[in-house]
């Protein structure tokens, strides 16, 4: 990319943050240099460590739950423990893993680089939001140790007000986490508005950044409602004010309105970042711009707005008026339009591209496969008369796992493999990554396809035990969970192995035209040695020069006299 010499101004002064031209991983050493860093890349890596641990913990709860359901009756734990397992699985996965996963880890790392900035707008606020996240995690861990919660991650009243377990500390933890989410969102909004490098106009903004921007809008506008809701819940439990508890004159359905007014937009906090990663992967590995990129960017904003108007579809059988039910059903169907636009445009991008079957691209295609199932099964649930039969069954469980895990988690894994060389400077073993992918893909479908079928046959969710006719489906689902776990562990191993055994990665190992690949691998402290001036869009392969698209594998090879660890296809631009 054409770069003119604009001297670095402000930001990372050499004295406090190390040499701005040095590798960000090596500029300063010691625990203190990480704990007190304001470098968005280091904060991103620390978030990545935390959300990965949270994913591990949430995943262990999921595996334990599936083992309990392997046979009828008691398999390994009693009913009260099982109820805690599914509550903790949901709460840990939603609040500790999936909401912060892409924005706080990958977004933090790449959003500033992708707009040619030296850091986010408020680096210290960024570090603060990480510590607030840690405090939230600590409170939630304490509540798990102190007796745990068995209300489901939705904390529905009046059960959550009456149950004897530590609902207060759990909700207080979620309340604190909300602030972390808001601060990250605010930081991203200001960064995107004020810190774009010369030449990065709104139309040249990478789709990942557009997705982060849309997500940040939702985080800033929706999260306060969650805080209000949880505060009301805490007030009710401590002071006995009748807000939600009918015994005190409250309305339990009001809690559901409050809760989903946040938690439905939160679904888009989870999925929009996944879509944002997917756009990057499809463009890079098709070697061409995303078809209708502007429509894809606008569909993220469209989802962010529509996400605020559909919370009522969680309450179709909960006791809403027929009029409200009708309205929410109609609005819910509109979500299909921006979702469909993305799927169609990604598929059209592959047409007449030059498709590299690298591991991140496998995840990108799996995203289209799985998210299409997740989206289409949403049609069943938006259709009122069909939803009455399906809601609160395993059909819903399978549906949202196809969206959340088949969408966001799959994109997160694809994004990790894609950006791992840029973040760490090391290339992973593509063969292991692809075997891991196959296991994840087969395992995931084996877990959740049986859940669709048992759900439509009438198996309600959150059940400790089930009728004999559902046993084969539960068995298949549990076996799938072991395949899925094997794939995830192999993928984690592949990434970690790269750190000590991986080949040194060149500047642009995948031959991408994206802005983030123009800088060093790993990036220098200031991201770019000179502020870049951008002369083309991030996906303009036909405008990019051969040096910009060069992978640099030849230099790695000649420098080390070894063959690179990447697939042969990644060597060519």
């Amino acid at each position: 990319m054409a770069a003119v010499d604009i001297p670095l101004i402000g930001g990372h002064e050499a004295d406090s943050h190390g040499d701005p031209h040095a590798n960000y991983l090596k500029a300063k050493r010691g625990i203190g240099s990480w704990m007190l860093t304001v470098d968005h890349k280091r904060i991103g890596l620390m978030y990545l460590t935390m959300v990965s641990l949270a994913f591990l913990v949430g995943g262990i709860f999921a595996l334990l739950m599936r083992i309990e359901l392997f046979t009828r009756g008691k398999t390994i734990v009693d009913a009260e423990t099982y109820n805690r397992f599914f509550t903790l699985h949901g709460a840990v996965m939603v609040f500790l893993f999936i909401i912060p996963s892409v924005p706080a880890a990958l977004g933090n790392f790449f959003l500033p680089i992708m707009i040619g900035a030296k850091d986010v707008a408020f680096p210290k606020l960024n570090l603060l939001s990480f510590y607030i996240y840690l405090v939230g995690v600590a409170i939630i861990l304490t509540s798990i140790i102190l007796g745990s919660v068995d209300t489901g991650w939705t904390f529905y009243t009046p059960y959550s007000v009456q149950t004897a377990n530590s609902v207060i500390s759990m909700t207080a933890g979620v309340f604190v986490l909300g602030f972390s989410s808001i601060l990250t969102g605010l930081n991203f909004l200001v960064t995107v508005h004020t810190m774009r490098a010369p030449g990065i106009t709104w139309t040249r903004l990478p789709l990942f950044v557009w997705g982060m921007y849309a997500t940040a809008l939702i985080q800033v506008l929706a999260t306060p409602v969650l805080a209000i809701t949880l505060l009301l819940l805490i007030t009710e439990r401590f002071l006995g004010i009748g807000i939600f508890d009918p015994k005190l004159g409250g309305d339990p359905v009001l809690f559901q309105h409050f809760f989903w007014f946040y938690s439905h937009p939160a679904v888009y906090i989870m999925i929009v970042p996944g879509m944002a990663i997917n756009s990057e992967l499809i463009a890079t590995f098709s070697r061409r711009a995303i078809f209708g990129a502007f429509a894809v960017a606008m569909s993220s904003i469209g989802l962010a707005i529509l996400g605020f108007l559909v919370w009522g579809h969680h309450l179709f059988v909960a006791g809403m008026s027929e009029f409200a039910t009708m309205l929410f059903s109609a609005l819910t169907f509109l979500v299909a339009i921006p979702s469909g636009v993305k799927i169609f445009n990604w598929t059209a991008t592959i047409y007449k591209g030059s498709i590299v079957w690298a591991s991140p691209m496998l995840y990108a295609m799996a995203f289209i496969f799985l998210f299409t199932i997740g989206g289409l099964t949403g049609l069943f649930l938006g259709t009122l008369s069909v939803d009455v039969h399906l809601t609160d069954t395993y059909f819903v469980v399978a549906h949202f796992h196809y969206v959340m895990m088949g969408g966001t988690v799959i994109a997160f894994l694809g994004g990790l493999l894609y950006w791992w060389p840029k973040m760490t400077g090391k290339m992973h073993d593509e063969k292991k990554a692809k075997i891991g992918f196959v296991l994840v893909f087969i395992g995931f479908n084996t877990v959740f396809i049986p859940q669709f079928i048992m759900g439509s046959r009438g198996m309600p969710r959150r059940y400790y035990d089930y009728l004999p006719q559902f046993e084969p489906f539960h068995k298949a689902s549990t076996i799938g969970s072991w395949i899925l776990a094997a794939g995830l562990f192999l993928t984690a191993y592949t990434l970690l192995e790269a750190l000590w055994k991986g080949k040194t990665a060149p500047r642009n190992p995948w031959g991408s035209a994206g802005y983030e690949w123009a800088t060093d691998t790993p990036p220098c402290v200031a991201n770019f040695h000179t502020t870049p001036t951008i002369k083309r869009g991030p996906y303009d392969y036909h405008l990019a020069t051969p040096e910009e698209l060069a992978t640099g594998w030849d230099e790695v090879e000649s420098a080390h006299g070894t063959k690179p660890g990447a697939s042969s296809s990644a060597k060519k631009a």
């Binding site: 015994k247 070697r287 059903s329 609160d392």
Partner: protein, 337 residues
């Protein structure tokens, strides 16, 4: 109209089921077509245009008509689905004027169905081809009455009445389940784990729907009616054996069985065996278990809680008649030794 179960959906036993299932399978096949088209195109192109020497990606162009088409065309399908779904939902929501009303009391963790003659049961019996409106209330937390074969489901919210209706189309039986998570208990008052058969909770709120002929339903109603009612009408005293029997029926119908044993074993509440006439220590001092204490404990359970037990019982005020309390007292008396 009464189709047996398909691979994806259970047997159809109500007037709305065929309409719901038609729409379900319509969306299913629509989804199959779209899924195969999208994923098929993706895989085909990803192979056809795979990277290889001599092949170069074509720069992405614009095709505004195509983009507009796939933004606008789905709106027609969506509008159709919305319309059909709402139509079906309204059919499920508006009960016919001649519907028979059956009251449903949901509690952790059991069902009680109260019929027009005042009789009650923990399973639901209805006559075939007769619209039935369920008027539902909960004593504790939110539950949801779900009958897969009828394709109906509705939350039961404490503090308000909710309702749903159906008309069964043929004679048979099916499962009734609770579909809104309502907790569970697997430990006794000492915190020791109970055997699986004694664990109760959300999943164990299972009951049965029995669709019977009109004749059989009439017989059933007489059977569940209060046997003492006939004596009361004639101003005669009801024989003790019948009163105790009615009390025993109430023990399971009112879900007392979930927390109190009659064998002496300790669950969440004290066992009824041998409790009659005993001196119990409570949080308000010692109390003799007599008619007055039992009555108070049923209507206002938190008034005096026996030591060593949690104040977990829901109040039954407004949900139990004086005659039913007498019958339960008689049953407890009969468990004296």
């Amino acid at each position: 109209m009464n189709e047996p179960a398909t691979f994806q959906l259970p047997e159809q036993m109500s007037t709305v089921a065929s309409e719901v299932d038609w729409l379900y399978y319509f969306i299913y096949w629509l989804s199959v077509v779209l899924f195969v088209a999208i994923v098929g195109a993706m895989v085909y192109w990803a192979i056809k245009y795979r990277e290889r020497p001599g092949h170069k990606a074509e720069p992405t162009g614009h095709n505004v008509p195509l983009e507009l088409a796939w933004t606008v065309a789905p709106l027609f399908i969506l509008a159709f689905l919305f319309h059909k779904g709402f139509e079906g939902y309204m059919d499920m929501s508006v009960a016919p004027a001649n519907a028979m009303e059956i009251h449903v009391n949901a509690k952790q963790w059991g069902w009680e169905f109260v019929y027009p003659n005042g009789g009650s049961d923990n399973e639901l019996h209805v006559p075939v081809h007769q619209p039935v409106k369920l008027i539902m209330s909960s004593t504790d937390v939110i539950h949801s009455l779900f009958v897969p074969a009828l394709r109906i489901k509705r939350d039961i919210v404490p503090g308000v009445y909710t309702s749903q209706w159906f008309e069964a189309t043929h004679i048979g039986s099916d499962d009734i389940a609770c579909a809104e998570y309502c907790g569970g208990r697997s430990k006794d008052a000492n915190g020791d784990e109970l055997p699986f058969a004694q664990m109760t909770g959300h999943w164990s709120m299972h009951s049965m729907l029995h669709v019977v002929s009109e004749e059989d339903f009439k017989k059933y109603l007489i059977g569940i009616g209060d046997k003492c009612a006939a004596y009361t009408l004639k101003n005669q005293a009801c024989p003790d054996s019948i009163v105790v029997g009615e009390g025993q029926k109430l023990y399971s119908k009112k879900a007392c069985v979930g927390c109190h044993t009659v064998t002496g074993a300790k669950l969440v509440g004290p066992s009824w065996k041998g409790i009659w006439g005993k001196e119990e220590s409570t949080d308000h001092g010692p109390v003799k278990v007599d008619e007055a204490y039992i009555r108070e404990s049923i209507l206002d359970p938190q008034a005096k809680v026996v030591s060593g037990f949690p104040p977990a019982m829901p109040p039954f005020r407004g949900q139990i008649t004086d005659q039913e309390i007498d019958e339960i007292v008689a049953y407890i008396k009969s468990l004296k030794d």
